[in-house]
């Protein structure tokens, strides 16, 4: 029994959710190996080898792995799958795109988006936008599992010294070509791992008004989220969407502004430690999950909120 985790990275750095997935994977079995498919990603392999939970790093270096082409990734992973009982990755767009392709090639029924490891074959996972939790047992010989990163703490990053072995690439697919990636650059913390998230919804009325949110985000060193309605309306880009079909966040503090709180949005944030809702509709469902609800016009409340924050002597960052 040993576990193969597929690392997510940008060829320079390990992407943060990989650390959460490592924690979950090592709960399945301590014999945890990590596969790095990349192009000139030696730094990534080295960082991963320093994680105490990691027993071995397999590094495949080839230009065909510079971008995440699921077809190329899957072919390489299948070559290594033989020696492992579990193939694991994080359940973000990286793992969601990749893992089913691997599972089908291995004739395995995938267990998606687990939030708890109960045993080597039994897991807890949310269904129906988190409105029910299912305990499921996989009877496949080889198990393919994706992990909801926010349900596991990130693994310690230093102190280990796992062996790094090089391996050969698999054949590249000729039917899929990467063209471009439009990454939204920001100095703010990443939405998925931020300690504080402040999100805006349809109540923001337009994109310019998100300035009220970003001013507070700057003050609190928070990430900015949004409801699907706000993204659909073009107020903000898709990478900010929190919810069932967007990102799941579990910050210490989640501030929902002008968000009514549809089931689909709650699915992405209701595990947050402290939830604040600011909404002028006192009956909005968001108040049912809020620890602190403020029934107010956001256009008055947000500037006040910022000036109150400015009065504080210290703010935790």
């Amino acid at each position: 029994m040993s576990v193969l985790l597929i690392a997510e990275h940008n060829n320079k750095e390990v992407r943060p959710f990989t650390y959460n997935a490592i924690t979950a994977a090592s709960q399945i079995n301590e014999e945890l190996h990590v596969l790095v498919l990349g192009h000139q990603a030696d730094d990534v392999a080295k960082s991963l080898s320093e994680i105490p939970n990691v027993k071995k790093v397999i590094h495949v270096d080839n230009e065909i792995y510079e971008n995440y082409i699921a077809e190329n990734y899957a072919a390489a992973i299948i070559k290594h799958a033989e020696s492992y009982s579990h193939i694991v990755s994080s359940a973000n767009t990286f793992g969601k795109n990749l893992m089913p392709r691997i599972a089908a090639l291995l004739d395995t029924s995938q267990v998606s988006d687990i939030i708890k490891v109960i045993s080597e074959d039994t897991f807890l996972r949310p269904i129906y936008a988190g409105n029910a939790f299912a305990t499921v047992k996989s009877n496949d010989k080889k198990k393919c599992v994706t992990i909801r990163p926010t349900s596991f703490d990130p693994a310690d990053k230093s102190g280990g010294s796992a062996e790094i072995t090089k391996s050969d690439p698999a054949e590249a697919s000729s039917s899929t070509k990467f063209l471009k990636k439009e990454e939204v650059k920001s100095d703010r913390p990443e939405l998925g791992t931020a300690r504080i998230v402040i999100s805006g919804g349809r109540g923001m009325q337009n994109g310019e008004n998100f300035k009220l949110i970003s001013d507070i985000a700057d003050k609190l060193n928070a990430a900015i989220g949004a409801s699907r309605a706000a993204v659909d309306a073009g107020y903000i880009t898709n990478d900010h969407q929190v919810g069932q079909t967007g990102k799941v966040v579990v910050p210490d503090l989640y501030i929902a502004v002008g968000i009514s709180g549809a089931i689909q949005h709650l699915a992405g944030m209701k595990e947050s430690k402290v939830i604040v809702a600011i909404n002028k509709d006192g009956e909005a469902p968001i108040f049912s999950v809020a620890d602190y609800g403020l029934e107010a016009d956001l256009f008055e409340a947000l500037p006040q909120f910022l000036s109150e924050l400015n009065k504080l002597n210290t703010i935790q960052k």
Binding site: T93, A103, A104, A132, T176, K177, L179, K180
Partner: protein, 249 residues
């Protein structure tokens, strides 16, 4: 070009679901059902491509119990040409669904297969990618924009970091995101016309694929409830509570 679109019947997205008391699953009796929302986007996109003169035929397929046919009927009402209903009595896993779809693809020879990126009931997000693997076709998942060029598709995908654009050769599988388009409503005359469009019925058991479950559902339970919170009267009070009570700022 011929497009096969897979649609799934699920509990309507507005329904607050209830967990069965014996922990065996979710209450589905007398609950409003509808088409899985991103599957509506998949149908809409296929219809738009046909309207642009780039596709000749759209076939809508569903796999499920007798009533799942309603979702195919709805697809026919918004522009699909004919339907296929593969009957199964129990809930089957995405791996089994993709094996059935593979059989249908081999029979129908579509150039493209579209479906929603995930079903909002089991939230698995697997079927399209699995079908692509079984057929050894390219996959373009979470599509928010599709451009049909001669024998390739240019697809913009919604990913965590932003947007990614890839090019896939036809035949290909595309899984659709909610922002791909705005699904239309069926007009009454089109609903009437759809009643005359053919739906072929097949039994999963006749297709010769293994659809037995590999995953045992041991129990289904309600998630822990959040403690009721309080309403604060002012912004000052909110900031004081966050600072001194919750200690998060």
């Amino acid at each position: 070009m011929k497009i096969l679109v897979a649609v799934k019947r699920v509990i309507d997205y507005n329904v607050q679901i209830r967990v069965k008391e014996d922990g065996s699953g979710i209450v589905t009796d007398n609950v409003k059902m509808s088409t899985n929302p991103p599957d509506d986007n998949a149908i809409e996109e296929a219809v738009k491509i046909k309207e642009a003169g780039k596709a000749k035929e759209i076939v809508a397929i569903t796999i499920g119990e007798e009533k799942a046919q309603e979702t195919v009927r709805k697809a026919l009402a918004v522009g699909a040409d004919r339907g296929i209903h593969v009957k199964v009595d129990n809930v089957i896993e995405p791996l089994a669904v993709s094996k059935i779809l593979k059989k249908i693809v081999e029979k129908e020879n579509p150039d493209l297969v579209f479906m929603g990126k995930q079903a909002i009931d089991d939230d698995c997000n697997q079927t399209g990618q699995m079908l692509a693997a079984l057929l050894n076709w390219p996959q373009a998942t979470f599509a928010s924009k599709i451009e049909v060029k001669d024998n390739v598709l240019e697809v913009t995908r919604e990913i965590d970091e932003g947007l990614e654009t890839i090019e896939v050769n036809v035949p290909a599988i595309v899984t659709c995101d909610l922002r791909l388009n705005e699904p239309r409503y069926a007009s009454l005359p089109n609903i009437m016309k759809a009643k005359k469009k053919p739906i072929e019925q097949l039994n999963a058991s006749d297709l010769g694929v293994d659809i037995n479950p590999r995953i045992e559902q041991i129990k289904v339970e309600e998630p822990p409830k959040r403690k009721a919170g309080i309403k604060v009267a002012s912004v000052e009070e909110l900031v004081q509570k966050l600072k001194n009570e919750a200690k998060v700022i």
